[in-house]
């Protein structure tokens, strides 16, 4: 083979490996032409950047929750939006387990890991401090700096809304670089002299180049689940592993290992931080742990939700886990009923919550079967049949689909829907929704609380940006 042949072959492989390119993100109107000058350092994604300082300042005076449906102010709703369910007044219970968590902890960089309008992930320098804030108002209560020379890469919270685990890795300029992790416990005590306290944990670093595919703190805050691939992206890439560590002493409590480097996870291939805290979900008793899984050997593989039982023996990630839900993709047409950006279970173990792209008229009440799947990018055009982002739930007993909320834009690229938090019963769900709806392809983002039939939007400025990388 000549060197030219090798280059052609290499080009073909790069073509095959390329993911769909995200849509163009431009300001709404052209600025007047100016003499050429040096571009500001590090400028990226102007439409999404919300400086933390500005967010904090505005958040202090922001309103809390704005009811999206039921309000006479139609303009409060972006054009093209329609909610599915009937919406009584109110925004769900204010206290108790079904209530929206009072506090959040978030990676502070304005668009760390934020999806672009086409669903791609923007790459910006790794996030710096984490922010402790009030969920309903965005009021910042504390900031916590990473240890010297490190940057925070992920966070996850317990059910008490006060206990969080964070991981940090060595600071690097390459935003997609990975590195060994150091784990920290963050305790939040709002209104006290020490509103946030960070303590280093003894949980292992999980190798020098791990791809952390998921982290989840158990509801009682005693166990940390980590889904990872050792030495990701190298010829020595290891098998996907789900490990559970004791938070108190870092001891390995459980470990399940996959069959090969390609039988991985839902998020296979996105090794860069922030570490995903939405692929793993615990039941309230801390005995069962669900993980979303899709084989990376075939892009058309069905999406599964599998569950391991910590009270049972076995260490095979697949042999010793149970499929509790499959969102089937037709082998012949490549179509599926819905497409889930995130998929997890509620802590009562009865419902799967899907950050969904759905058909314009989803077949509510159906048992999931092959239907359709999204095209990678439609540009500013009429959405394809599976480009309507929203929130869907599936009963794990009946497998029936229930649509809680859905956006119906007129003109868009791919929609994006990510579940940020779900109550134990799934009656309340907080979701990030993103889509484009005008020829400028400017992204619209919002954080929707669907609670007991009521749809409301978190209205404090910067909510979508900050909460996208939050734990509750």
């Amino acid at each position: 083979m000549t060197i030219e042949d090798r280059l052609h072959d290499f080009t073909r492989v790069i073509d095959d490996a390329m993911r769909p390119v995200r849509p163009l993100d431009l300001p709404p109107t052209p600025e007047p032409a100016r003499p050429a000058r040096r571009r500001p350092h590090g400028r990226r994604w102007p439409g999404l950047l919300v400086p933390l300082g500005a967010a904090v300042a505005v958040a202090a005076v922001a309103a809390t929750l704005v009811v999206v449906r039921g309000l006479p102010h139609v303009a409060a709703r972006p054009p093209g939006i329609a909610a599915i369910s009937p919406v009584p007044a109110g925004s769900g219970p204010a206290t108790g387990p079904e209530a929206l968590p009072e506090f959040f902890v978030a990676l502070s960089h304005p668009d760390a890991g934020m999806p672009g309008p086409g669903g791609g992930v923007s790459t910006t320098p790794p996030p710096d401090p984490v922010v402790v804030g009030e969920t309903r108002t965005g009021r910042v209560l504390a900031t916590v700096n990473p240890p010297a020379g490190a940057t925070f890469a992920g966070l996850t919270g317990a059910a008490d809304d006060r206990t969080f685990v964070l991981d940090a890795m060595p600071r690097q300029d390459n935003p997609v670089a990975v590195g060994p992790r150091t784990w920290y416990l963050l305790r939040v005590s709002p209104g006290t002299a020490t509103p946030a306290q960070l303590v280093k944990l003894s949980i292992p670093s999980i190798g020098s180049r791990p791809a952390i595919e998921g982290i989840a703190l158990s509801p009682d805050g005693t166990k940390l689940a980590v889904l990872f691939q050792p030495d990701a992206g190298s010829p020595a890439a290891g098998r996907f592993t789900l490990a559970v560590y004791a938070v108190a002493d870092g001891a390995l409590a459980h470990r399940w290992t996959g069959t090969d480097p390609y039988h991985g996870t839902y998020d296979y291939g996105s090794a860069a931080p922030p570490d995903d805290n939405r692929t793993l979900s615990w039941t309230a008793d801390g005995h069962r742990l669900a993980f979303a899984y899709r084989s990376s050997k075939s892009p058309g593989s069905s999406l599964s939700l599998r569950m391991v039982d910590l009270t049972r023996p076995g260490n095979g990630l697949f042999a010793d886990s149970t499929v509790i839900l499959t969102i089937a993709v037709s082998a012949t047409t490549g179509k599926s009923a819905i497409s889930c950006e995130t998929l997890g279970i509620t802590s009562d173990g009865r419902t799967a919550v899907c950050g969904a792209n759905m058909p314009r008229f989803p077949r509510t009440g159906i048992v999931l079967d092959a239907y359709t799947r999204p095209s990678p990018w439609t540009g500013c055009a009429r959405p394809t049949d599976l480009n309507y982002p929203g929130i869907a739930e599936v009963s794990l007993a009946s497998r029936k689909l229930r649509v809680i909320y859905q956006v119906r834009p007129q003109c868009m690229g791919n929609g994006q829907s990510t579940t940020l938090w779900a109550s134990p019963s799934g009656q309340a769900v907080l979701s990030y929704i993103g889509y484009t709806n005008d020829p400028s392809m400017r992204p619209h983002t919002e954080v929707i609380l669907a609670s007991h039939g009521s749809i409301t939007r978190l209205a404090w400025p910067g909510a979508a940006t900050l909460l996208y990388n939050a734990a509750f």
Binding site: E4, A17, P27, P30, P32, A33, W45, G120, M441
Partner: protein, 156 residues
């Protein structure tokens, strides 16, 4: 502008990917290039110049990224992009070798080889993108190919 992006973004991202070895970084460079074009759109005399302009901007953007990385970590200059490419895309060993070899070439040779032999641009198109003469493109790509061939024959 949107039509131009839709038509040429994949090719430009591919070009930047070969320079940087990483798709998200490549997409950022392409986005920035289009943002620059957007700001200068009114002063662009000939819309037909838009593609060469933006292609040239993409190359400039890649050089900036490479320079920045090199300044920050000179010791790892040779590995620039390769690690992240491997992290995001599972390439067969033979293709990783090509990527590594490309990144060992001097910048001008690398650009000329990628534009001419990977993306099949004409000498004139490559010259416009690189802001150099056609003759320089020819010699740079020829030297680049020879160097690439040598590197790929080296024992690891």
């Amino acid at each position: 502008m949107t039509a131009l992006y839709q038509a040429h973004a994949p090719g430009l991202v591919r070009l930047a990917m070969m320079m940087l070895g990483d798709q998200p970084a490549a997409e950022d460079v392409v986005q920035d290039a289009f943002l620059g074009l957007f700001r200068r759109w009114d002063s662009l005399n000939d819309p037909g110049r838009a593609l060469p302009y933006v292609r040239s901007s993409v190359l400039n953007g890649c050089r900036d990224v490479i320079r920045k990385s090199a300044r920050r970590d000179r010791m790892e200059l040779v590995d620039l992009g390769t690690a992240s490419a491997e992290a995001s895309v599972l390439l067969a060993e033979e293709h990783r070798e090509v990527l590594r070899a490309l990144h060992r070439l001097p910048a001008r040779q690398r650009e000329a080889v990628v534009l001419r032999h990977c993306l099949s641009l004409t000498e004139a198109e490559a010259a416009a993108a690189m802001n150099i003469s056609r003759g320089t493109v020819k010699s740079a790509s020829s030297r680049g190919l020879a160097a690439l061939s040598r590197i790929l024959k080296e024992k690891p």
